[in-house]
């Protein structure tokens, strides 16, 4: 065999082995979700079995699962929309009309992201308690909006900067007002960027598990909190837990795979290109 081809085959084996090992816990969870509860805890663990959809049906029939899923959707999408709405004007101003201190402002915004949530757990908890925001969807939407705002501003800023200024300039020559300029030119031109920014924000909201665990109990609890409530019962529920978890992570996994490139940009604040 040609040495080049052999090298490639070896790399293929090693690469897939590494990927398989990392992915294994997720694979195992998905596999378990198609087992009966007895098979799920069987010794030795069963790799071959007759798959059943029973767990998915049970999970789907339980009204509360749908309730938690809807909470997750409403909260992540709500917070993302709100953050985007607040961030677009700021990013537009900073990208196209930079001043002397735009850079400082941007850095300061990013630095608010570095505040550890536990440092402000108590005041937020007390403020929430006193305003009746505990266990409400809007309460969590507000927190997530603020939590993601710096990243959303930052990502939109970098995407807006890539839009050729000449096009906006031309629009302005033709008499477009700033509002029209944003709506008719900038937003359509940077739609892919806005989409991936929104995607990242949804991923971060969906998986957030500090505020959701501390600020919600049942009414507004998203899937992270719901899944955490499974930590107590031992055995018996593994297959159903796996099914519930698989549904909970599936959409985000797909979103994550779709936006992996932009993810680096968003999560490192452009420090790695």
């Amino acid at each position: 065999m040609h040495p080049k081809t052999r090298e490639r085959l070896v790399l293929t084996v090693v690469g897939w082995l590494a990927a398989g090992l990392i992915f294994f816990p997720i694979f195992w969870m998905i596999l378990t979700s198609f087992k009966t509860e007895v098979e799920a805890v069987a010794t030795p663990p069963q790799l071959f079995f007759t798959p059943t959809l029973e767990n998915y049906i049970t999970v789907r029939e339980r009204a509360d699962y749908v309730h938690f899923a809807i909470n997750s959707i409403v909260i992540s999408v709500g917070a993302t929309l709100l953050a985007t709405l607040i961030a677009v004007p700021a990013a537009y101003a900073m990208a196209f009309f930079p001043g002397k201190r735009t850079k400082d402002l941007l850095l300061w915004m990013l630095s608010t992201k570095m505040m550890p949530a536990v440092g402000v757990l108590i005041p937020i908890y007390l403020l929430f308690r006193d305003t009746g925001a505990i266990d409400t969807r809007w309460g969590l939407i507000v927190v997530y909006t603020l939590m993601n705002l710096p990243i959303v501003v930052w990502m939109l800023y970098t995407f807006f900067k890539e839009v050729p200024k000449d096009i906006l300039e031309a629009g302005r020559m033709d008499g477009a007002k700033p509002k029209q300029e944003v709506w008719m030119l900038l937003l359509p031109l940077s739609l892919p960027g806005i989409a991936s920014t929104a995607l990242l924000s949804i991923i971060l909201c969906w998986n957030e598990a500090f505020w959701s665990l501390n600020l919600t109990t049942s009414e507004a609890a998203p899937l992270t909190t719901f899944i955490a409530s499974f930590s107590a019962p031992e055995g018996l529920f593994w297959a159903k837990l796996s099914a519930a978890s698989t549904i909970a992570i599936a959409p985000i996994l797909v979103f994550g795979w779709m936006s992996q490139r932009q993810l680096v940009r968003g999560l490192t604040f452009g420090a790695v290109k």
């Binding site: 990392i22 816990p25 805890v41 570095m114 536990v118 440092g119 402000v120 899944i227 992570i249």
Partner: protein, 307 residues
């Protein structure tokens, strides 16, 4: 620039970004909403934490109250549980960093190579990062590390060894394994991006000069990755300092305080023991710790923004 969460250079409306209106576009009203609410979000809770940390304040006992001076701090600093939590926090951050950056670098080099189905293999390898923390923690706890029905117990038993009670005997190590698994894809993704930005001409030149794979790695790739690695370390550190859900779901900080980190200690103090004053003092310490890292991170970002 040493601006961190506690030192804001541009409070609210006085920003000059807005004042400098070019081309007849007033930027102030555009930027102000973001700046104002972020400023409030940052400063109000922080000021409250600071204030509470100097107060006697118990959520269950309204008779407790008044100015405490530094008592919450002296109590906290002489309390062995703080030091246990601090050591656990540092231990957790350190080992997760070692595992994720070490393995992440190797994997990044691996996934930079051309092989069959590479892009699909890469998707599988980055998947753990998108799994919500409570799910990952429960999957590891119940299906892999469970001392009776877990997969690892099955493997050790098949080898004729006793099953390991992961969360009973090695609680912190078990949490470290789970958290490292979640963050490995992050390191991999960023380091891979950095490797791919390496000039292929430079690599080719080194190869022409007869550089083998090892000298290639140590003299070309690793130096190029220096910056990316430091960014990974800083960002991970900020998030890892407040690991919470994984502990909450698996060990609840126990047995005893064996897997309690600073974040979990604050949670225990505040929402389990209702000691607002003491928990706030611990919160202030957590903020200071994170800011030490944040200063370096902001500097590193600032270098790159310059354009």
């Amino acid at each position: 620039m040493a601006s961190t969460t506690t030192a804001a250079p541009v409070p609210g409306t006085s920003t000059t970004v807005g004042g400098r209106s070019q081309r007849n576009v007033k930027t102030l009203p555009l930027v102000a909403p973001s700046v104002v609410i972020l400023f409030l979000w940052m400063i109000v809770p922080l000021a409250m934490t600071l204030w509470f940390s100097f107060q006697y304040y118990n959520l269950l006992d309204p008779t407790v109250g008044g100015f405490a001076g530094f008592e919450n701090y002296t109590f906290l600093l002489t309390d062995p549980s703080l030091w246990t939590a601090m050591i656990n926090t540092i231990f957790l951050v350190f080992w997760v960093l070692v595992i994720t950056v070490g393995l992440g670098t190797l994997l990044a080099v691996l996934f930079d190579q051309d092989f069959y189905g590479r892009s699909i293999a890469r998707l599988l390898a980055i998947a753990p990062f998108f799994v919500m923390p409570t799910v990952s923690a429960l999957v590891w706890k119940n299906m892999l590390m469970h001392p009776v029905n877990g997969l690892f117990a099955f493997f050790t038993r098949s080898l004729g060894l006793p099953a390991i009670d992961f969360f009973g005997s090695f609680p912190l190590t078990s949490v470290i394994i789970i958290v490292a698994w979640q963050w490995l894809p992050f390191a991999l993704l960023i380091l891979l991006t950095a490797i791919q930005s390496l000039d292929s001409e430079q690599k080719e030149a080194a190869r022409m000069d007869g550089a083998g794979p090892f000298s290639m790695f140590f003299f070309i790739i690793l130096p190029h990755l220096g910056r990316a690695i430091s960014v990974v370390i800083m960002i991970e550190t900020i998030f890892l300092l407040s690991v919470f859900a994984e502990i909450y779901v698996t060990t609840s900080g126990g047995p005893g305080l064996a897997s309690t980190n600073l974040a979990f200690l604050i949670y225990l103090r505040a929402l389990r023991e209702y000691d607002v004053g003491g928990a706030s003092a611990a919160g202030v310490i957590a903020v200071i710790l994170a800011n030490i890292v944040a200063v370096f991170l902001v500097r590193s970002i600032a270098k790159n923004i310059a354009d």
